[in-house]
């Protein structure tokens, strides 16, 4: 139960860290996955597994759909996810409780950075980069196979990424070489 509370608090922090809603379920899943790579203690709590769309946490999905501790903490607006009034109140409570802890502040800032950078990616870009960076999660992924078979799509994805400045030129060349583009 203690882990469930931590998971819910982190979900509220992730979604509430910036004013803008999280663009989609895919984004919250992958952004939280990156956070668990950044904070290894969270890996056991969220328990990301290999899934047809890459790393997936059922715990996170359940929290977004039916939070336990904060009634209706999250709202949906089309595909995007945001904090409800209750969720915002709890976000403020969490921050207030931990404001004096430097580690918490650094953690919160890292969450903001993840949101700032990863929110800008579209679904294909996000999936592709996660697959390419964490190849362990390619297994069981039909989506990965369908992306990779389509060289035109992969090329489009990485050209968009370099145009946006989301990846460096060296990263672009590295991917081109890896996929024989």
């Amino acid at each position: 139960m203690y882990n469930a509370k931590i998971a819910e608090d982190f979900s509220i922090l992730m979604i509430g860290s910036i004013e803008r809603p999280v663009p989609s379920d895919l984004h919250i899943q992958k952004e939280m996955f990156v956070l668990t790579q950044t904070i290894p203690d969270l890996r056991e709590i969220f328990n990301f597994k290999k899934h047809y769309q890459g790393p997936f946490s059922q715990i996170l999905r359940d929290i977004i759909d039916s939070p336990i501790y904060v009634d209706r903490a999250f709202e949906r607006r089309g595909r995007s996810i945001l904090l409800s009034k209750n969720g915002k109140k709890e976000f403020n409570n969490i921050v207030k409780r931990n404001i004096k802890e430097e580690d918490f502040n650094i953690l919160n800032i890292n969450i903001k950075l993840i949101r700032n950078i990863y929110d800008r990616l579209n679904r294909f870009e996000l999936l592709f980069l996660v697959y390419d960076t964490y190849p362990k999660y390619i297994e069981m992924s039909d989506v990965y196979n369908s992306i990779i078979k389509n060289k035109k799509l992969v090329n489009e994805i990485i050209v968009n990424l370099i145009r946006k400045g989301s990846i460096t030129e060296d990263r672009f060349m590295e991917i081109k070489k890896r996929y024989n583009l």
Partner: protein, 178 residues
Amino acid sequence: MTDLLADSSFYICFLDNIKSPENLIKILEKFSSSFPPVIFSEVKKSKRSKEIFENKKLNINIFEGEIHISEVLRPFFSIEQKERGEHELIVLAFICYNMKMKFELVIDDKQARNFIKRNLIYLSKNLKDTINFLCDCYSVYGIFKKEEVLDIFNLIENSNYGVKKEIMFEAKKKMRCN
């Protein structure tokens, strides 16, 4: 105290390229220098690194903790770039910015600089390359006299530290005008 977040090429310039650790120490005495893990291990490879890491007068912070900052921007940089560590420095700079700390971000790598300008534009204000940071060591921080900076520039030009002629030309011009 202002935080100095510099990439490994900045430190290695002084320690190895121009073999001038004493000038590096003069700079570091004015700052609190933060080293993310990859940059720390890169700089430590230098035989002269002890002159800074074992110098008790310097305020050196090695970023160690439960947060693996190298993971945050991992998908966006190549393997070689991640081995140099600029992606970690960018995370530290973002932390300093959000904690409203004064900091200088010294990065020479053009691609890392472009990444900042395209994604985290507000960090650009604090972003400099080694050469322009040295200009500020004279004009802003009063660490060096003008002639001392120009001497360091000459040492750099005659070393195998790669700096574009245009950057050096503009910096020397700036120094002469100040």
